[in-house]
Symmetry: C2
Subunit: 296 residues, 2 copies
């Protein structure tokens, strides 16, 4: 990881890891090949940025406990499911993920498809089991907001746009739409789940939503840049995959320097905006800056 | 459909179709290729047996409205998602489904994987949006029960067992385990969702659960039998697929006649058991008998 990692990050990431251990199927659970495949693609040393965003949005809104850690775990499961399915031969056809064989290379395509399905299902399982007796958690509201961001007009829709855009002329507006759904939606909903669980008012939720959209956009630009500039060791997979696939990317469209500039502008706007709705946004602003300083 | 279809079936099935129209993404919704693929695999003239089971369990427990119709629609979405993914080349590799090209034959593998993901996600979207203001729906409980039946130790786990069993020696206990998870779990949870939404007490829920397990088991035996005895026109796909895939099936293990006998015994046990916990089980018992009299 880069030296610019915020100081509180490791502690929060550790809590997300513990929540994942608690909520994933146990290693010995039957059918074992499936639980092994599920655990393989989640417990893989990921940055847990989305999980930490859930925790920090919850903390900002006034909640920092087992419930926000559970929500962080379920967001990381959804993130992992989307990567397992995206890496499949029929999709992006990536053989490596974080320096290890992709799920389908390790377990076979059939198991990888079902492991992705199981991760998505498990995320909702966690949401269904998070309510402690006597504790009011707005499960229907959380479910509503979550599913609005990861469906046809969100995470999944973005992947479709990404696949179909590879055949078309490059266009900045189209690229923004892909980013908004494919990457921005999951980052945005991470902030919203934390905020809702913490009891944030509508103004704060609106601020968290906008903050998520801006840093999500910057995150994808940074991803595109890393695909051009990083090497295998840092990236954990072959760089240059986007270009080979003829994908629409920011560096291809604007060049490297202008893309870096655009990412920085988005992060500065996100921080300025958050400071207008809360005086306690310091940690989230640190996370935002990490989004574009990271090296993988 | 067979002549033995219960009289109320068409009316209830129509209500499930209407709820699906209401809850699926509109045809013109972007990205259009995805909404088209999603709708293609749900709005295809299916029997809606699981949806009708939701409605009838709800009705038995005292609720018969937009909420039970919505729950019926979401169960049919989950059923459709599992079929779309099961038909993929890396899984059962079926080219036809209900007489039409399978989703991946029509739209391509990448779209089919994402259409399945979108259907599963949409099912949870429906659950998140079903609560009307001022109306108490136990969303967390429904989510809990639903996800316990469609995950690693349910629908998905059953598919894994089914795939891996094709390589192994036939064994009756193993076959029962596959059936319990792969088919029984979704049928059982259909009855439980209806019952819970209708406010059924624990005794009635226990009866509905047992009823679901028994008819789910009979349903899969009947499916195996149809694969041996039906022709393409009735089945809507090539018969004999199980045998070609070396799959563990009841006819292969017990012969056709003993399998038929076993299915009948299970249905009679289900009806007798339900009559012990309620005097209003008439319609559900009719549905149970339809499970083994159907011709597709």
């Amino acid at each position: 990881m880069t030296a610019r990692l915020p100081g509180f990050y490791d502690e929060q990431r550790q809590r997300v890891e513990e929540a994942l251990e608690e909520w994933l199927p146990a290693f010995e659970a039957e059918p074992q090949i499936l639980t092994e495949a599920v655990r393989y693609s989640v417990l893989n040393g990921g940055k847990r940025l989305r999980g930490v965003l859930v925790m920090e949005a919850g903390r900002l809104a006034g909640r920092d406990d087992e419930v926000t850690a559970g929500l962080a775990a379920l967001i990381e499961m959804i993130h992992a499911y989307s990567l397992v399915h995206d890496d499949l031969p029929a999709m992006d056809d990536d053989d490596y993920r974080r320096g290890k064989p992709a799920n389908h290379k390790k377990f076979g395509e059939d198991i990888a498809i079902l492991a992705g399905d199981a991760l998505l299902t498990r995320a909702f399982y966690v949401l269904g089991h998070l309510s402690a007796p006597g504790e009011e958690l707005p499960v229907a509201r959380l479910l509503e907001v979550l599913t609005e961001h990861i469906g046809v007009q969100g995470l999944i829709g973005g992947q479709i746009l990404d696949i179909t855009a590879a055949d078309r002329e490059a266009d900045l507006e189209q690229l923004k739409a892909i980013h908004r759904w494919k990457t921005g939606a999951l980052i945005t909903v991470s902030l919203l789940l934390g905020g809702i669980a913490g009891g944030a008012n509508e103004e704060l939720l609106k601020g968290l939503r906008r903050f998520g959209e801006l840093i999500g956009h910057a995150f994808q630009i940074k991803d595109d840049l890393l695909d051009v500039t990083a090497d295998f060791e840092k990236l954990g997979k072959e760089p240059g995959a986007d270009e080979r696939a003829g994908k629409l990317t920011y560096p291809a469209l604007l060049g490297v320097e202008k893309s870096q500039q655009r990412a920085r502008q988005l992060i500065e706007e996100a921080c300025r905006m958050l400071d207008e709705v809360t005086t306690a946004g310091g940690r989230l602003n640190e996370l935002a800056r990490f989004v574009i300083s990271r090296e993988k």
